[in-house]
Subunit: 396 residues, 2 copies
C-alpha cells in the first residue's frame, strides 16, 4: 500500500530551479472535480498563494488540481505575490484545461523574495506530463524544504462494500507550532462524502494532530491543510453522525496523526520525539496552557537534548504556564512513567532507572494536575545545537 | 565611584561550598533599619526563600540584612525548603543580633536539590566578619550562577543639599523573561523616602528594565528584586509627586536599566544585544505583544546569531503576535535604522549597508505599526549554539 493514490487522483513532482538540485514543484490532479476544504494559518501576515486559495475555496467550485512550489514562500512580495500565485494557477489551467476556480496553489520556503515565476511556468508542462497514479512519492518530495524525509500517510477503509482510500503528504521541519506553522499538508480521498461532514472531519482531525505539535513556538505565514474528496469510490455518501462517518474520521485522524508525528520527528535538528500529556486539569484551556508551556520551553528542550534529567525545569514551566488552577503541592510529573515530582518536591526515583529513561529517543512527559478531569496532549522535539545551526544559516 | 555602598551599608561574599570553587554566599547589611519593598516572580511554583521573604516584607518591620546563596535555588525541596530558608535567616540573626523579621533571604541555582544548609550555617560567621563598606563587588560575584560578569549599577544624586547614593547588584543569565525570570537584584540606598513612594518607584523602574528583558522566554521560580532605603543620607523625606521624587526615580531607573542591560548582554551564550522597539500601536498591550513575539522567536534569534538578514522572520513574528490591530500592508520594519519592510514587502535596502548593519553587536529592531500612538520596548539577545550547550549540560 506504499504511496498509492485514491481512485482518479494523479500526482507528480519536478525540479524547476527554485532550489539548486532538489525537486521543488508538485502537482496533484483529480480527473473528477473534488469537494474541497482547507485550514489556513492564523498569522496576520499571510502568504499570497494562501490568500488566493482561500478565496477560491470560498466560491465552492469543485477542485481538480493543487500546484505547490517549495524553496520560496511567495510571502511579503507586494503586489507581485498575488499576481504570481495566479499565474501559477493560470498556467496549470492552460495545460490541464481547467477553470481558475478549480485550482489551489501553495508555496513554502524563504519569505520576501519574488517567485522565479518564469521557471515555474516553464516547468508546468513537464509536471503535467509526469502526472501518474504512482506520483505521490515524487510530489511528497517536491514540497519539502529543510525536511530530511518525505512524509506520507495512507489509510484504506471499507464504506459499505466499497473500498475507500485516504492518502496524505506533508512538509514540516522548523517553525512548527500549535496553530499549524510552516506546514503544508495535502490529503486526498476517493470517498463520496457530504461537504459539511468533510469540513467537520478535517477540523477534528487537525485539532488532535497538526494543531497539537510544536517545534519552536513560531507560527508561519503559509500554513495550509487541504483535503480533497472526489467521490470516485462510489460509496453511499457519508453524512455526519453516521457509523460510516466515524470510520472515515478515524482513518483521516490516523493519516493526519502519522503526518504530524513525522513532522515532529523530522523537526529541525531534532534528536528526540517528546509527547507532553497533561491530565486532571480543571479546564481544557488550562491543560493546553500547561502542555504548551512545557513544549515551548527552550530550557526544557535543551535539557532533553543533553539527556540531562533536569525535571525542575518542567516543574517551573508548569508554574509559569499561566494556567488558572494549579497548586504546586498537588501536581505530579512523570517522565517515561517514572514519578519525578510529587507533593511539591523531587520524588527521588531510582537513579539509574531515571537516567536510563532520559536517554530514550521517545520521551513521554505526563503532568497530573489533580484539579479536575480535562486533558491535553502536545508533541514536540528537543532543542539541539543543530537547530541553531540550521536556522542561523537558512537563506545564505 | 566604583563599587561604593550608600551610607550605613556593608556587604560581603564568601565561598561556602555549594559551588566547587566560586563564591556562593552573599550578605548585605544596614546598620540602620531600612524601609524595604520587593517584587517577586509570578511563577506559581515559588522557591521557599521567596515565600519566606515575601511574608516577612508584608509584616513591614525594618530590614537590616539580606542573605543570598547561589548554586542552589532551594525550590521544590518540600518542607525542608522553608525550614532551610528560615535557618539561613536565624543564623544571620544570631551573628548580627537581629530579629527574624529584619532579614530577607534569597537563593538561585539548581531546582529540587536540598540546600547544604550546614555548610551555609558554618560560613555565615565568616561572612559577617568580612562585612565591609567595600564589599559590594564581593557580594555581586557571590550571587552569580552561569553569569560571566558581575552586574553592578551605581548612581549618585543630590536631594536638597544632601548627597544620596543608590547601589544595585544583579544576577541573570538564562531563563530571563518579561515578568523577571531567574533574576535576582538587590538595590540599596541611603535616601530618606516615604514607603509608598519607594514602592511606586521600584515598580516603575522595574517595568522599563527587568520586566522588559527576555533571554529565552522562560519564567523562573526564584525571581526577586529588593530595594532597601535606610534614610542615613539625612535628606528631607522624599514624597511621591515632588521634584525630589522625580530625581530619585530617574536615578533608580538608570540603576535598574544598567543592571537589566548587563543581564541581557550576559545572556547564556549571547553574542548580540538586541533592542526591540514597537511604536504606533493602537494599545500598549498590542505594542508589547508584538515586541515579545519578536523577542521570543527562536527563529529570529537564531538568524541574528548567524548574522543572516532574514527580515521575513521578523515580519512573520509580527503577524503571529496575536496583537489585535495590525495590518500587513501598514507596518514597517527597520533594522539598525535601515527600512527592510514596508507596504507588505521587502523594502530592498542597499545590500551592503544592510548586511553591515546585521553584523553589528548591537541590533535595534524597530516596528512601526502605524495604527495608533502606543509603544513598547523589550531587550533580548540572540540564540546561539552555546546557549544550547550550556543548557543541555547545566546540572551535570
Amino acid at each position: 500500500m506504499k504511496y498509492v493514490l485514491p481512485k482518479g487522483f494523479l500526482a507528480s513532482g519536478v525540479h524547476c530551479g527554485i532550489k539548486k538540485f532538489k525537486k521543488d514543484l508538485a502537482l496533484i490532479y483529480s480527473k473528477a472535480g473534488a469537494k474541497a476544504v482547507g485550514l489556513f494559518t492564523k498569522n496576520k501576515v499571510k502568504a499570497a498563494p494562501l490568500i488566493v486559495s482561500k478565496e477560491i475555496l470560498k466560491k465552492g467550485s469543485p477542485i481538480k488540481a493543487i500546484i505547490v512550489n517549495s524553496g520560496n514562500a511567495n510571502c511579503c512580495t507586494g503586489w507581485y505575490g498575488v499576481r504570481d500565485a495566479k499565474r501559477m494557477i493560470n498556467t496549470v489551467c492552460e495545460h490541464l484545461k481547467l477553470k481558475f476556480n478549480n485550482v489551489q496553489v501553495a508555496s513554502t520556503g524563504i519569505i520576501g523574495r519574488r517567485l522565479p515565476i518564469e521557471s515555474i511556468e516553464e516547468a508546468i508542462p513537464r509536471l503535467v506530463k509526469k502526472l501518474s497514479e504512482k506520483g505521490l512519492k515524487s510530489a511528497a518530495s517536491a514540497i519539502l524544504t529543510t525536511d530530511r524525509k518525505i512524509k506520507v500517510g495512507i489509510e484504506k477503509i471499507a464504506v459499505g462494500k466499497k473500498e475507500v482510500l485516504i492518502s496524505g503528504i506533508a512538509k514540516g521541519a522548523g517553525m512548527i507550532h500549535p496553530q499549524m506553522a510552516t506546514m503544508l499538508s495535502f490529503i486526498v480521498t476517493d470517498a463520496r462524502i457530504d461537504k459539511d461532514a468533510l469540513k467537520f472531519a478535517l477540523r477534528e482531525a487537525c485539532d488532535k494532530s497538526f494543531n497539537a505539535i510544536s517545534i519552536d513556538g513560531d507560527m508561519s505565514t503559509n500554513d495550509t491543510v487541504t483535503l480533497l474528496a472526489n467521490g470516485l469510490a462510489g460509496n453511499k455518501t457519508i453524512e455526519r453522525g453516521t457509523k460510516e462517518y466515524g470510520v472515515f474520521l478515524k482513518a483521516l485522524k490516523s493519516v493526519t496523526f502519522k503526518l504530524a508525528k513525522n513532522i515532529v520527528e523530522d523537526g529541525e535538528g531534532a534528536t528526540k520525539f517528546v509527547s507532553v500529556f497533561v491530565d486532571g486539569a480543571k479546564t481544557t484551556r488550562d491543560a493546553f496552557k500547561v502542555a504548551r508551556s512545557i513544549a515551548n520551553s527552550c530550557l526544557v528542550k535543551a535539557s532533553l537534548y543533553g539527556e540531562n534529567p533536569n525535571w525542575g525545569r518542567i516543574a517551573s514551566s508548569v508554574g509559569a504556564s499561566r494556567a488558572r488552577k494549579i497548586k504546586p503541592n498537588k501536581f505530579e510529573i512523570y517522565l517515561n512513567r517514572i514519578c519525578v515530582f510529587k507533593g511539591g518536591r523531587f520524588a527521588q526515583p531510582h537513579k539509574e532507572k531515571f537516567s536510563k529513561a532520559y536517554k530514550r529517543k521517545n520521551i513521554e512527559i505526563l503532568v497530573k494536575l489533580n484539579m479536575g478531569k480535562k486533558d491535553a496532549c502536545i508533541w514536540t522535539c528537543d532543542l539541539s545545537k543543530r537547530y541553531v545551526e540550521i536556522n542561523s544559516h537558512y537563506m545564505t
